[in-house]
């Protein structure tokens, strides 16, 4: 099978990328989705809060997904469900995908361009090294979410949640509403990894305690979870002896971070950013492998699906431009560097000749800051400084770079984005 463009993943990123590519004139394209329906993880995110930026209304996950699925179907974009990409490689300009499903077995697809939109997965208990036996009752928060919201099953009655990522917070509310008792949420860091609004409406509304600087040090029970031991951690995140506390429960949910799912990107040999776990991309969201683009949570983990859709639309447009031969580099490349307080930037470089009038740069900070500023400088000259009341690792930030301001600079080489604290602004 030969295609101009193959999109790996039919979640929010893949759908928005496919729609944008089709609208930019790509006829021969195909979405490959391993689940039995389009929409990805949005299908199990039945809470509201999606789409305020995109649709100016507050939708639930399935409703947000349905808008894009409907549009993809109206545009006649072909897709295959229950289909898994097992290998991706580049042979010159040609990309080859090895694909598998029940009907057709193992087969190959040749593509001129590929958009990576595989999303991310949750960090597991194995990756957290919590001691104890391996009883039933330990789930990642997302697995529990699927059981409750799509399969109508309750994973347990008395719940402790480790990690205050958004899925953990959302599940604290879901489990409570469905009749379970959520005893507490323990968070290793001194701040929450989730959005502030979720702390308010998922924990505070229901009186669920959030224990910052705490972790689970032991899991009790052989066949079924009977309880967990939590302990306070010190500044090096090590449990402090003597602070242990036993909590009885039958279920432990883990919401300890998301990891971009990049086995295919690594197999391809794309250069990876160890901070995000995703590939390095330029202003066109193209990896260092020509004609291979990335967007959404496979690139870097987002908080808001609206931004995933925006990013994916850009990837779709750029893939279409590439297929038209309109994505030739001009060599006027500026690198972007994350400095003090900023962990990474997406993109990591940009070609001034190829960039759009306004380029969104997304990043995360590494700590909680109050009354700080985000400073953008180009070869030592400050382009701008944006005041921020609060900056937190759980909330993605963005700045806009204008083509005009870079054109005006004298042969710019490097743009640095950093956090500037004013006096004692930084919180431990």
């Amino acid at each position: 099978m030969k295609k101009d463009l193959v999109i790996i993943g039919g979640g929010p990123a893949g759908l928005a990328a496919a729609i944008a590519a089709r609208e930019a004139g790509v006829e021969e394209l195909l979405i490959l989705e391993r689940d039995c329906r389009l929409g990805g993880i949005l299908n199990q995110c039945i809470h509201n809060g999606f789409g305020l930026h995109t649709f100016k209304e507050e939708l639930t996950g399935p409703e947000y997904a349905d808008r894009y699925i409907g549009k993809a179907k109206t545009l006649g974009i072909p897709y295959r469900l229950n289909t898994m990409v097992v290998d991706l490689r580049a042979e010159g300009q040609q990309k080859k995908l090895t694909v598998m499903n029940r009907e057709e077995g193992l087969y190959e697809i040749e593509a001129k361009a590929v958009i990576l939109a595989m999303g991310c997965r949750e960090r597991t208990r194995g990756a957290l090294n919590i001691p104890g036996f391996r009883p039933a009752g330990i789930y990642s928060a997302g697995t529990a979410q699927r059981y409750v919201n799509m399969e109508g099953r309750m994973p347990g009655r008395e719940v402790v949640i480790l990690g205050s990522g958004d899925i953990g917070l959302i599940m604290a509310r879901r489990m409570t509403l469905e009749g379970a008792r959520v005893k507490l949420v323990a968070e290793l860091m001194p701040y929450s990894g989730g959005l502030k609004r979720n702390i308010v409406q998922c924990l505070e509304d229901f009186g669920i305690p959030l224990r910052l600087s705490h972790t689970v040090v032991d899991i009790k029970g052989r066949d079924r979870v009977e309880g967990v031991t939590i302990a306070r951690v010190d500044g090096n995140l090590k449990p402090i002896p003597g602070t242990e506390e036993e909590i009885s429960c039958d279920t432990l949910l883990l919401s300890c971070g998301l990891i971009p799912e990049n086995e295919l990107s690594q197999g391809l040999g794309a250069a990876m950013n160890p901070v995000t776990g995703g590939p390095f991309v330029n202003e066109s969201l193209e990896t260092d492998k020509e004609g291979v683009f990335a967007c959404g949570n496979v690139l870097h983990v987002h908080d808001l699906v609206d931004y995933v859709s925006q990013e994916a639309e850009a990837a779709g447009r750029k893939a279409a431009a590439y297929l038209r031969g309109g994505l030739e580099g001009t060599g006027r490349v500026v690198s972007l560097r994350a400095a003090e307080g900023v962990r990474y930037t997406v993109p990591a470089s940009l070609d001034i000749g190829r960039m759009e009038e306004a380029q969104t740069v997304r990043f995360r900070v590494g700590d909680v800051y109050r009354d700080a500023a985000i400073e953008v400088s180009c070869d030592g000259r400050i382009l701008r400084s944006v005041k921020k009341k609060v900056l937190a690792p759980g909330e993605m930030e963005q700045i806009i770079l204008k083509k005009q301001e870079l054109e005006a600079a004298d042969n710019p080489k490097e743009i640095v984005i950093s956090v500037r604290t004013q006096g004692q602004g930084k919180e431990a």
Partner: protein
């Protein structure tokens, strides 16, 4: 007598930190909001707190055993628990479509419960 209350706006994921100035129990000023929705939220949260409720309803003969639902608009915060309990009492036949009303006037709030996903027949 003036007093300041700190709130986090939950109207959108930005989560603005709001400061509400109260003069003799009356709301005098809201600051820290990025948009008008923030000011509206602050006033509502201190006078008549409301929430949109999202939950599930059991489906008979569907490809999935449950369908997600939401209140068509926000309801008083104190009625959230009752609303979820009321949903446990009913079952709807497949197919279910986005926007279908699965329960009218839930718990006397005047607000309908509507489906938020399509569930086909099995």
């Amino acid at each position: 007598m003036s007093e300041t209350r700190e709130l986090v706006c939950i109207r959108c994921p930005l989560g603005c930190n709001l400061s509400v100035k109260l003069e003799g129990g009356e709301i005098a000023a809201v600051t820290g909001n990025t948009c008008p929705r923030g000011a509206e939220y602050a006033v509502k949260e201190l006078t008549d707190p409301r929430r949109i409720v999202t939950s599930l309803v059991r489906v008979r003969g569907g490809e999935l055993p449950v369908a997600p639902v939401k209140t068509a608009s926000d309801i008083p915060k104190g009625k959230v628990g009752d609303c979820v309990k009321a949903l446990r009492q009913i079952e709807v036949p497949a197919p279910v479509h986005i926007g279908d009303v699965v329960m009218e006037n839930v718990c006397g709030t005047g607000v309908d419960m509507v489906a938020t996903a399509n569930v086909d027949r099995s």
